[in-house]
Symmetry: C3
Subunit: 177 residues, 3 copies
Protein backbone atom coordinates (compact mmCIF):
# COMPACT_ATOMS: atom_id res chain seq x y z
CA UNK A 1 0.00 0.00 0.00
CA UNK A 2 1.20 3.47 -0.89
CA UNK A 3 0.24 6.30 1.46
CA UNK A 4 0.62 10.06 1.07
CA UNK A 5 0.75 12.09 4.29
CA UNK A 6 0.22 15.75 3.47
CA UNK A 7 0.47 18.68 5.84
CA UNK A 8 1.96 22.04 6.65
CA UNK A 9 5.25 22.86 8.34
CA UNK A 10 5.29 21.60 11.96
CA UNK A 11 1.92 19.94 11.48
CA UNK A 12 3.03 16.64 12.99
CA UNK A 13 3.05 14.87 9.63
CA UNK A 14 6.36 13.08 10.25
CA UNK A 15 5.30 11.95 13.71
CA UNK A 16 1.98 10.68 12.33
CA UNK A 17 3.86 8.81 9.58
CA UNK A 18 6.27 7.23 12.06
CA UNK A 19 3.26 5.96 14.01
CA UNK A 20 1.60 4.59 10.87
CA UNK A 21 4.78 2.76 9.90
CA UNK A 22 5.46 1.37 13.37
CA UNK A 23 1.92 0.01 13.55
CA UNK A 24 2.59 -2.27 10.58
CA UNK A 25 4.85 -4.70 12.43
CA UNK A 26 7.43 -4.71 9.61
CA UNK A 27 11.06 -3.71 9.30
CA UNK A 28 11.16 0.10 9.28
CA UNK A 29 13.33 2.08 6.85
CA UNK A 30 13.56 5.86 7.01
CA UNK A 31 14.45 7.38 3.65
CA UNK A 32 15.81 10.86 4.35
CA UNK A 33 15.82 13.24 1.38
CA UNK A 34 17.20 16.31 3.18
CA UNK A 35 20.82 17.04 3.79
CA UNK A 36 22.54 19.04 6.48
CA UNK A 37 23.26 22.08 4.33
CA UNK A 38 23.07 24.60 7.18
CA UNK A 39 22.66 24.85 10.94
CA UNK A 40 18.85 24.99 10.79
CA UNK A 41 18.71 21.81 8.71
CA UNK A 42 21.29 20.00 10.86
CA UNK A 43 19.22 20.74 13.95
CA UNK A 44 16.03 19.59 12.24
CA UNK A 45 17.60 16.31 11.14
CA UNK A 46 18.94 15.68 14.66
CA UNK A 47 15.51 16.36 16.17
CA UNK A 48 13.82 14.01 13.70
CA UNK A 49 16.42 11.32 14.39
CA UNK A 50 15.79 11.60 18.14
CA UNK A 51 12.04 11.21 17.57
CA UNK A 52 12.51 7.89 15.81
CA UNK A 53 13.59 4.92 17.85
CA UNK A 54 16.80 2.96 17.27
CA UNK A 55 14.80 0.31 15.38
CA UNK A 56 14.74 2.57 12.32
CA UNK A 57 17.35 2.10 9.60
CA UNK A 58 18.14 5.33 7.78
CA UNK A 59 18.91 5.54 4.06
CA UNK A 60 19.83 8.88 2.52
CA UNK A 61 18.94 9.78 -1.07
CA UNK A 62 18.64 13.33 -2.28
CA UNK A 63 17.85 12.80 -5.97
CA UNK A 64 17.23 9.32 -7.34
CA UNK A 65 14.18 8.36 -5.30
CA UNK A 66 12.50 6.25 -8.00
CA UNK A 67 15.51 3.92 -8.36
CA UNK A 68 16.20 3.59 -4.63
CA UNK A 69 12.57 2.96 -3.72
CA UNK A 70 12.07 0.28 -6.39
CA UNK A 71 15.36 -1.36 -5.34
CA UNK A 72 14.81 -1.26 -1.56
CA UNK A 73 11.05 -1.74 -1.22
CA UNK A 74 10.02 -5.22 -0.06
CA UNK A 75 6.83 -6.78 1.26
CA UNK A 76 8.37 -7.28 4.73
CA UNK A 77 9.50 -3.69 5.25
CA UNK A 78 7.83 -0.30 5.28
CA UNK A 79 9.68 2.69 3.86
CA UNK A 80 8.99 6.21 5.05
CA UNK A 81 10.06 8.91 2.58
CA UNK A 82 10.65 12.18 4.46
CA UNK A 83 9.98 14.20 2.47
CA UNK A 84 8.92 14.88 -1.13
CA UNK A 85 9.23 18.64 -0.56
CA UNK A 86 12.94 18.46 0.20
CA UNK A 87 13.36 16.01 -2.67
CA UNK A 88 11.63 18.39 -5.08
CA UNK A 89 13.80 21.27 -3.94
CA UNK A 90 16.92 19.11 -4.43
CA UNK A 91 15.77 18.27 -7.97
CA UNK A 92 15.12 21.94 -8.77
CA UNK A 93 18.38 23.07 -7.18
CA UNK A 94 20.28 20.52 -9.29
CA UNK A 95 18.51 21.97 -12.36
CA UNK A 96 17.11 18.60 -13.34
CA UNK A 97 13.82 18.24 -15.23
CA UNK A 98 11.23 18.50 -12.46
CA UNK A 99 8.32 17.17 -14.49
CA UNK A 100 10.30 14.20 -15.78
CA UNK A 101 11.52 13.32 -12.27
CA UNK A 102 8.02 13.65 -10.84
CA UNK A 103 6.62 11.43 -13.60
CA UNK A 104 9.41 8.90 -12.99
CA UNK A 105 8.55 8.71 -9.29
CA UNK A 106 4.83 8.27 -9.85
CA UNK A 107 5.22 5.70 -12.60
CA UNK A 108 7.66 3.73 -10.39
CA UNK A 109 5.15 3.46 -7.55
CA UNK A 110 3.52 0.21 -8.78
CA UNK A 111 6.99 -1.39 -8.94
CA UNK A 112 7.69 -0.74 -5.25
CA UNK A 113 7.02 -4.19 -3.76
CA UNK A 114 6.04 -3.17 -0.23
CA UNK A 115 4.33 -0.37 1.67
CA UNK A 116 5.73 3.13 1.21
CA UNK A 117 4.66 6.24 3.12
CA UNK A 118 5.40 9.55 1.37
CA UNK A 119 5.47 12.69 3.51
CA UNK A 120 4.87 15.93 1.60
CA UNK A 121 4.07 19.58 2.27
CA UNK A 122 1.03 21.43 1.07
CA UNK A 123 2.50 24.84 0.17
CA UNK A 124 -0.22 26.49 -1.91
CA UNK A 125 -2.50 27.94 0.76
CA UNK A 126 -0.80 31.25 1.35
CA UNK A 127 -0.59 34.47 -0.65
CA UNK A 128 1.04 34.20 -4.12
CA UNK A 129 4.81 34.40 -3.48
CA UNK A 130 6.52 37.48 -4.85
CA UNK A 131 9.46 35.65 -6.34
CA UNK A 132 9.17 33.61 -9.52
CA UNK A 133 11.20 30.64 -8.28
CA UNK A 134 8.87 30.24 -5.30
CA UNK A 135 5.87 30.32 -7.63
CA UNK A 136 7.50 27.68 -9.81
CA UNK A 137 8.23 25.52 -6.78
CA UNK A 138 4.67 25.91 -5.51
CA UNK A 139 3.29 24.80 -8.86
CA UNK A 140 5.64 21.81 -9.09
CA UNK A 141 4.82 20.75 -5.53
CA UNK A 142 1.08 20.99 -6.14
CA UNK A 143 1.31 18.92 -9.31
CA UNK A 144 3.51 16.31 -7.63
CA UNK A 145 1.12 16.02 -4.68
CA UNK A 146 -1.83 15.53 -7.04
CA UNK A 147 0.00 12.84 -9.02
CA UNK A 148 1.21 10.92 -5.95
CA UNK A 149 -2.26 11.22 -4.38
CA UNK A 150 -3.78 9.79 -7.56
CA UNK A 151 -1.45 6.77 -7.47
CA UNK A 152 -1.67 6.20 -3.69
CA UNK A 153 -4.28 4.01 -2.00
CA UNK A 154 -4.46 6.24 1.05
CA UNK A 155 -4.07 10.02 1.46
CA UNK A 156 -4.13 11.73 4.85
CA UNK A 157 -4.01 15.43 5.62
CA UNK A 158 -2.46 16.27 9.01
CA UNK A 159 -3.18 19.49 10.93
CA UNK A 160 -2.08 20.13 14.52
CA UNK A 161 -1.00 16.49 14.71
CA UNK A 162 -4.48 15.21 13.82
CA UNK A 163 -5.17 13.18 10.67
CA UNK A 164 -8.00 13.78 8.22
CA UNK A 165 -8.50 11.05 5.64
CA UNK A 166 -8.83 12.35 2.06
CA UNK A 167 -8.72 8.91 0.41
CA UNK A 168 -8.75 5.47 1.98
CA UNK A 169 -7.67 2.01 0.95
CA UNK A 170 -10.99 1.37 -0.78
CA UNK A 171 -10.39 4.44 -2.92
CA UNK A 172 -13.11 6.39 -1.17
CA UNK A 173 -12.65 9.70 0.65
CA UNK A 174 -14.80 11.67 3.04
CA UNK A 175 -16.43 13.44 0.09
CA UNK A 176 -18.11 10.27 -1.14
CA UNK A 177 -19.74 9.54 2.21
CA UNK B 1 -27.40 24.86 -7.00
CA UNK B 2 -24.47 27.12 -6.18
CA UNK B 3 -21.17 25.40 -5.34
CA UNK B 4 -17.93 26.84 -3.96
CA UNK B 5 -14.77 24.86 -4.70
CA UNK B 6 -11.99 26.10 -2.45
CA UNK B 7 -8.36 25.08 -2.56
CA UNK B 8 -4.74 26.09 -2.76
CA UNK B 9 -2.63 26.82 -5.83
CA UNK B 10 -2.23 23.68 -7.99
CA UNK B 11 -4.57 21.76 -5.73
CA UNK B 12 -6.63 20.40 -8.62
CA UNK B 13 -9.61 22.62 -7.81
CA UNK B 14 -10.26 23.57 -11.47
CA UNK B 15 -10.03 19.96 -12.61
CA UNK B 16 -12.40 18.86 -9.85
CA UNK B 17 -14.83 21.64 -10.85
CA UNK B 18 -14.70 20.65 -14.53
CA UNK B 19 -15.63 17.11 -13.52
CA UNK B 20 -18.49 18.32 -11.33
CA UNK B 21 -19.87 20.44 -14.16
CA UNK B 22 -19.50 17.74 -16.81
CA UNK B 23 -21.35 15.27 -14.59
CA UNK B 24 -24.48 17.44 -14.71
CA UNK B 25 -25.38 16.69 -18.32
CA UNK B 26 -26.03 20.36 -19.11
CA UNK B 27 -24.52 22.90 -21.49
CA UNK B 28 -21.12 23.89 -20.02
CA UNK B 29 -19.95 27.51 -19.89
CA UNK B 30 -16.50 28.43 -18.64
CA UNK B 31 -16.37 31.95 -17.24
CA UNK B 32 -12.73 33.02 -17.26
CA UNK B 33 -11.87 35.94 -14.99
CA UNK B 34 -8.12 36.04 -15.70
CA UNK B 35 -6.47 37.77 -18.55
CA UNK B 36 -3.22 37.09 -20.34
CA UNK B 37 -1.29 39.93 -18.74
CA UNK B 38 2.08 38.19 -18.88
CA UNK B 39 3.78 35.04 -20.16
CA UNK B 40 3.07 33.04 -16.97
CA UNK B 41 -0.64 33.84 -17.19
CA UNK B 42 -0.80 33.16 -20.94
CA UNK B 43 0.70 29.72 -20.36
CA UNK B 44 -1.69 29.01 -17.49
CA UNK B 45 -4.71 29.97 -19.58
CA UNK B 46 -3.54 27.79 -22.47
CA UNK B 47 -3.00 24.83 -20.12
CA UNK B 48 -6.45 25.24 -18.60
CA UNK B 49 -8.00 25.53 -22.07
CA UNK B 50 -6.34 22.27 -23.14
CA UNK B 51 -7.68 20.51 -20.03
CA UNK B 52 -11.26 21.37 -20.93
CA UNK B 53 -12.81 19.65 -23.91
CA UNK B 54 -14.12 21.43 -27.00
CA UNK B 55 -17.66 21.16 -25.60
CA UNK B 56 -16.94 24.08 -23.28
CA UNK B 57 -17.97 27.60 -24.35
CA UNK B 58 -15.71 30.28 -22.87
CA UNK B 59 -16.92 33.69 -21.74
CA UNK B 60 -14.42 36.24 -20.42
CA UNK B 61 -15.31 38.79 -17.78
CA UNK B 62 -12.74 40.46 -15.59
CA UNK B 63 -14.91 42.79 -13.50
CA UNK B 64 -18.68 42.68 -13.76
CA UNK B 65 -19.31 39.10 -12.64
CA UNK B 66 -22.65 39.77 -10.91
CA UNK B 67 -24.25 41.20 -14.08
CA UNK B 68 -22.82 38.56 -16.45
CA UNK B 69 -23.77 35.64 -14.21
CA UNK B 70 -27.34 36.82 -13.68
CA UNK B 71 -27.70 37.45 -17.42
CA UNK B 72 -26.14 34.18 -18.64
CA UNK B 73 -27.16 31.67 -15.97
CA UNK B 74 -29.99 29.35 -17.05
CA UNK B 75 -31.47 26.12 -15.72
CA UNK B 76 -30.15 24.14 -18.71
CA UNK B 77 -26.53 25.22 -18.40
CA UNK B 78 -23.86 25.07 -15.73
CA UNK B 79 -21.43 27.96 -15.40
CA UNK B 80 -17.94 27.49 -13.97
CA UNK B 81 -16.37 30.69 -12.64
CA UNK B 82 -12.58 30.32 -12.66
CA UNK B 83 -11.76 32.00 -10.41
CA UNK B 84 -12.88 34.42 -7.70
CA UNK B 85 -9.27 35.06 -6.69
CA UNK B 86 -8.33 36.51 -10.08
CA UNK B 87 -11.62 38.43 -10.13
CA UNK B 88 -10.87 39.92 -6.70
CA UNK B 89 -7.41 40.94 -7.80
CA UNK B 90 -8.88 42.58 -10.93
CA UNK B 91 -11.34 44.50 -8.75
CA UNK B 92 -8.56 45.66 -6.41
CA UNK B 93 -6.22 46.53 -9.28
CA UNK B 94 -8.98 48.64 -10.89
CA UNK B 95 -9.35 50.42 -7.51
CA UNK B 96 -13.03 49.59 -7.29
CA UNK B 97 -14.80 49.14 -3.95
CA UNK B 98 -13.95 45.54 -3.01
CA UNK B 99 -16.58 45.16 -0.31
CA UNK B 100 -19.34 46.61 -2.50
CA UNK B 101 -18.40 44.30 -5.39
CA UNK B 102 -18.25 41.25 -3.09
CA UNK B 103 -21.64 42.12 -1.64
CA UNK B 104 -23.05 42.61 -5.15
CA UNK B 105 -21.85 39.17 -6.19
CA UNK B 106 -23.24 37.38 -3.14
CA UNK B 107 -26.58 39.17 -3.25
CA UNK B 108 -26.88 38.33 -6.98
CA UNK B 109 -26.46 34.59 -6.35
CA UNK B 110 -30.17 33.86 -5.79
CA UNK B 111 -30.93 35.57 -9.12
CA UNK B 112 -28.69 33.20 -11.08
CA UNK B 113 -31.23 30.82 -12.59
CA UNK B 114 -29.06 27.72 -13.00
CA UNK B 115 -26.14 25.93 -11.36
CA UNK B 116 -22.95 27.92 -10.88
CA UNK B 117 -19.62 26.57 -9.63
CA UNK B 118 -17.29 29.17 -8.14
CA UNK B 119 -13.59 28.29 -7.89
CA UNK B 120 -11.65 30.24 -5.27
CA UNK B 121 -8.31 30.14 -3.48
CA UNK B 122 -7.80 29.82 0.24
CA UNK B 123 -4.87 32.20 0.84
CA UNK B 124 -4.85 32.71 4.61
CA UNK B 125 -2.92 29.66 5.80
CA UNK B 126 0.62 30.97 5.49
CA UNK B 127 2.65 33.44 7.52
CA UNK B 128 1.30 37.04 7.67
CA UNK B 129 2.52 38.71 4.44
CA UNK B 130 5.02 41.51 4.92
CA UNK B 131 3.38 43.89 2.49
CA UNK B 132 0.17 45.73 3.35
CA UNK B 133 -1.50 45.17 -0.03
CA UNK B 134 -1.09 41.41 0.34
CA UNK B 135 -2.62 41.57 3.83
CA UNK B 136 -5.53 43.59 2.43
CA UNK B 137 -6.01 41.08 -0.36
CA UNK B 138 -5.87 38.15 2.06
CA UNK B 139 -8.54 39.75 4.22
CA UNK B 140 -10.79 40.54 1.26
CA UNK B 141 -10.41 37.01 -0.10
CA UNK B 142 -11.22 35.43 3.25
CA UNK B 143 -14.32 37.55 3.69
CA UNK B 144 -15.48 36.84 0.12
CA UNK B 145 -14.99 33.10 0.61
CA UNK B 146 -17.03 33.17 3.82
CA UNK B 147 -19.86 35.11 2.17
CA UNK B 148 -20.01 32.91 -0.95
CA UNK B 149 -19.81 29.78 1.24
CA UNK B 150 -22.71 31.10 3.30
CA UNK B 151 -24.86 31.60 0.21
CA UNK B 152 -23.83 28.36 -1.54
CA UNK B 153 -25.60 25.03 -1.08
CA UNK B 154 -22.37 23.06 -1.41
CA UNK B 155 -18.78 23.86 -0.40
CA UNK B 156 -15.86 21.58 -1.19
CA UNK B 157 -12.23 21.94 -0.15
CA UNK B 158 -9.76 20.34 -2.58
CA UNK B 159 -6.25 19.19 -1.58
CA UNK B 160 -3.96 17.14 -3.83
CA UNK B 161 -6.88 16.72 -6.24
CA UNK B 162 -9.10 15.16 -3.56
CA UNK B 163 -12.34 16.74 -2.39
CA UNK B 164 -13.42 17.22 1.20
CA UNK B 165 -17.03 18.32 1.68
CA UNK B 166 -17.45 21.27 4.08
CA UNK B 167 -21.17 21.80 3.34
CA UNK B 168 -23.54 19.71 1.29
CA UNK B 169 -26.80 20.34 -0.51
CA UNK B 170 -28.80 19.68 2.65
CA UNK B 171 -26.83 22.41 4.39
CA UNK B 172 -24.94 19.92 6.52
CA UNK B 173 -21.17 19.59 6.66
CA UNK B 174 -18.86 16.96 8.09
CA UNK B 175 -18.91 18.80 11.40
CA UNK B 176 -22.55 18.06 12.06
CA UNK B 177 -22.10 14.29 11.58
CA UNK C 1 -13.99 20.98 28.00
CA UNK C 2 -11.06 22.54 26.17
CA UNK C 3 -11.55 23.33 22.47
CA UNK C 4 -9.04 24.42 19.84
CA UNK C 5 -10.44 26.30 16.85
CA UNK C 6 -7.83 26.40 14.11
CA UNK C 7 -8.04 28.28 10.83
CA UNK C 8 -6.50 30.75 8.43
CA UNK C 9 -6.69 34.52 8.41
CA UNK C 10 -10.29 35.70 7.83
CA UNK C 11 -11.53 32.11 7.92
CA UNK C 12 -14.37 32.90 10.31
CA UNK C 13 -12.69 31.12 13.24
CA UNK C 14 -13.51 33.88 15.77
CA UNK C 15 -17.14 34.05 14.65
CA UNK C 16 -17.42 30.27 14.88
CA UNK C 17 -15.89 30.36 18.37
CA UNK C 18 -18.28 33.10 19.53
CA UNK C 19 -21.19 30.91 18.39
CA UNK C 20 -19.77 27.86 20.18
CA UNK C 21 -19.37 29.83 23.41
CA UNK C 22 -22.79 31.47 23.23
CA UNK C 23 -24.43 28.08 22.72
CA UNK C 24 -23.20 26.94 26.16
CA UNK C 25 -25.58 29.10 28.20
CA UNK C 26 -22.80 30.23 30.54
CA UNK C 27 -21.24 33.57 31.41
CA UNK C 28 -19.04 34.59 28.45
CA UNK C 29 -15.54 36.01 28.88
CA UNK C 30 -13.49 37.20 25.92
CA UNK C 31 -9.77 37.01 26.60
CA UNK C 32 -8.08 39.35 24.11
CA UNK C 33 -4.37 38.74 23.55
CA UNK C 34 -3.81 41.44 20.90
CA UNK C 35 -3.14 45.05 21.58
CA UNK C 36 -3.81 48.13 19.51
CA UNK C 37 -0.22 48.68 18.39
CA UNK C 38 -1.13 50.27 15.05
CA UNK C 39 -4.10 51.47 12.99
CA UNK C 40 -4.69 48.06 11.35
CA UNK C 41 -4.84 46.32 14.73
CA UNK C 42 -7.04 49.02 16.27
CA UNK C 43 -9.53 48.61 13.44
CA UNK C 44 -9.45 44.81 13.79
CA UNK C 45 -10.10 44.97 17.54
CA UNK C 46 -13.00 47.41 17.01
CA UNK C 47 -14.54 45.14 14.37
CA UNK C 48 -14.24 42.07 16.62
CA UNK C 49 -15.76 44.01 19.53
CA UNK C 50 -18.74 45.03 17.37
CA UNK C 51 -19.28 41.38 16.35
CA UNK C 52 -19.64 40.28 19.96
CA UNK C 53 -22.74 41.30 21.86
CA UNK C 54 -22.69 43.45 24.99
CA UNK C 55 -23.06 40.29 27.10
CA UNK C 56 -19.37 39.56 26.63
CA UNK C 57 -16.92 40.68 29.32
CA UNK C 58 -13.48 41.44 27.91
CA UNK C 59 -10.23 40.69 29.73
CA UNK C 60 -6.91 41.68 28.16
CA UNK C 61 -3.74 39.69 28.69
CA UNK C 62 -0.80 39.83 26.33
CA UNK C 63 1.69 37.53 28.06
CA UNK C 64 0.68 35.57 31.15
CA UNK C 65 -2.12 33.46 29.71
CA UNK C 66 -1.49 30.38 31.91
CA UNK C 67 -1.90 32.33 35.15
CA UNK C 68 -4.93 34.35 34.03
CA UNK C 69 -6.76 31.34 32.60
CA UNK C 70 -6.24 29.20 35.70
CA UNK C 71 -7.32 32.11 37.91
CA UNK C 72 -10.41 33.15 35.90
CA UNK C 73 -11.71 29.86 34.54
CA UNK C 74 -14.81 28.57 36.35
CA UNK C 75 -17.40 25.89 35.66
CA UNK C 76 -20.14 28.51 35.15
CA UNK C 77 -18.30 30.59 32.54
CA UNK C 78 -16.76 29.94 29.16
CA UNK C 79 -13.56 31.75 28.21
CA UNK C 80 -12.66 32.47 24.61
CA UNK C 81 -8.95 33.09 24.03
CA UNK C 82 -8.50 35.16 20.86
CA UNK C 83 -5.91 34.26 19.87
CA UNK C 84 -2.87 32.05 20.50
CA UNK C 85 -1.14 33.46 17.41
CA UNK C 86 -1.09 37.01 18.76
CA UNK C 87 -0.08 35.66 22.17
CA UNK C 88 2.82 33.75 20.64
CA UNK C 89 3.97 36.82 18.75
CA UNK C 90 3.80 38.85 22.00
CA UNK C 91 5.92 36.21 23.75
CA UNK C 92 8.50 36.22 20.94
CA UNK C 93 8.54 40.02 20.72
CA UNK C 94 9.16 40.23 24.48
CA UNK C 95 12.08 37.79 23.96
CA UNK C 96 10.68 35.34 26.48
CA UNK C 97 11.32 31.59 26.22
CA UNK C 98 8.71 30.48 23.68
CA UNK C 99 8.98 26.76 24.45
CA UNK C 100 8.76 27.28 28.20
CA UNK C 101 5.71 29.54 27.82
CA UNK C 102 4.02 27.08 25.45
CA UNK C 103 4.68 24.22 27.86
CA UNK C 104 3.35 26.30 30.75
CA UNK C 105 0.11 26.97 28.87
CA UNK C 106 -0.45 23.35 27.91
CA UNK C 107 0.37 21.98 31.35
CA UNK C 108 -1.99 24.53 32.92
CA UNK C 109 -4.93 23.37 30.81
CA UNK C 110 -6.12 20.67 33.25
CA UNK C 111 -6.16 23.27 36.04
CA UNK C 112 -8.62 25.53 34.18
CA UNK C 113 -11.88 24.70 35.95
CA UNK C 114 -14.33 25.49 33.15
CA UNK C 115 -14.64 25.40 29.37
CA UNK C 116 -12.01 27.30 27.39
CA UNK C 117 -12.00 27.87 23.62
CA UNK C 118 -8.59 28.64 22.12
CA UNK C 119 -8.51 30.32 18.70
CA UNK C 120 -5.30 29.82 16.75
CA UNK C 121 -3.94 30.27 13.24
CA UNK C 122 -2.57 27.55 11.03
CA UNK C 123 0.38 29.32 9.37
CA UNK C 124 2.43 26.47 7.86
CA UNK C 125 0.63 25.87 4.56
CA UNK C 126 2.39 28.44 2.39
CA UNK C 127 5.84 28.58 0.84
CA UNK C 128 8.81 28.59 3.30
CA UNK C 129 9.17 32.23 4.44
CA UNK C 130 12.38 33.95 3.35
CA UNK C 131 13.12 35.52 6.69
CA UNK C 132 14.43 33.49 9.61
CA UNK C 133 12.20 35.08 12.24
CA UNK C 134 9.10 34.09 10.23
CA UNK C 135 10.40 30.52 9.97
CA UNK C 136 11.00 30.46 13.73
CA UNK C 137 7.50 31.79 14.35
CA UNK C 138 5.98 29.23 11.99
CA UNK C 139 7.74 26.41 13.80
CA UNK C 140 6.73 27.67 17.25
CA UNK C 141 3.10 28.10 16.13
CA UNK C 142 2.96 24.61 14.64
CA UNK C 143 4.39 23.03 17.80
CA UNK C 144 2.03 25.02 20.03
CA UNK C 145 -0.98 24.01 17.92
CA UNK C 146 0.02 20.34 18.14
CA UNK C 147 0.46 20.52 21.91
CA UNK C 148 -2.82 22.35 22.56
CA UNK C 149 -4.63 19.97 20.16
CA UNK C 150 -3.22 17.01 22.08
CA UNK C 151 -4.49 18.36 25.40
CA UNK C 152 -7.88 19.55 24.07
CA UNK C 153 -11.00 17.39 23.95
CA UNK C 154 -12.22 18.98 20.74
CA UNK C 155 -10.35 20.41 17.72
CA UNK C 156 -12.10 22.13 14.83
CA UNK C 157 -10.61 23.44 11.61
CA UNK C 158 -12.54 26.37 10.08
CA UNK C 159 -12.40 27.28 6.37
CA UNK C 160 -14.69 29.84 4.71
CA UNK C 161 -16.66 29.98 7.96
CA UNK C 162 -17.38 26.24 7.91
CA UNK C 163 -16.15 23.88 10.64
CA UNK C 164 -14.45 20.56 10.08
CA UNK C 165 -14.01 18.40 13.18
CA UNK C 166 -10.50 17.00 13.62
CA UNK C 167 -11.08 15.61 17.13
CA UNK C 168 -14.29 15.39 19.11
CA UNK C 169 -15.20 15.13 22.77
CA UNK C 170 -14.87 11.35 22.66
CA UNK C 171 -11.32 11.77 21.39
CA UNK C 172 -12.24 10.55 17.93
CA UNK C 173 -11.72 12.48 14.69
CA UNK C 174 -12.99 12.02 11.16
CA UNK C 175 -9.99 9.82 10.44
CA UNK C 176 -11.18 7.03 12.70
CA UNK C 177 -14.60 6.79 11.05
Amino acid sequence: MKTLVLGGARSGKTRHSLGLAEGMGLETIYLATGWAGDAEMTERIARHRAERGAHWTTIEEQIDLPRVLVKESRADRVMLVDCLTLWLSNVMFAELDVEAMSDALVSAMPRMAGPVIFVSNEVGLGIVPENALSRRFRDAQGRLNQAVAGAAERVVFVAAGLPLVLKDSEGRGQASV
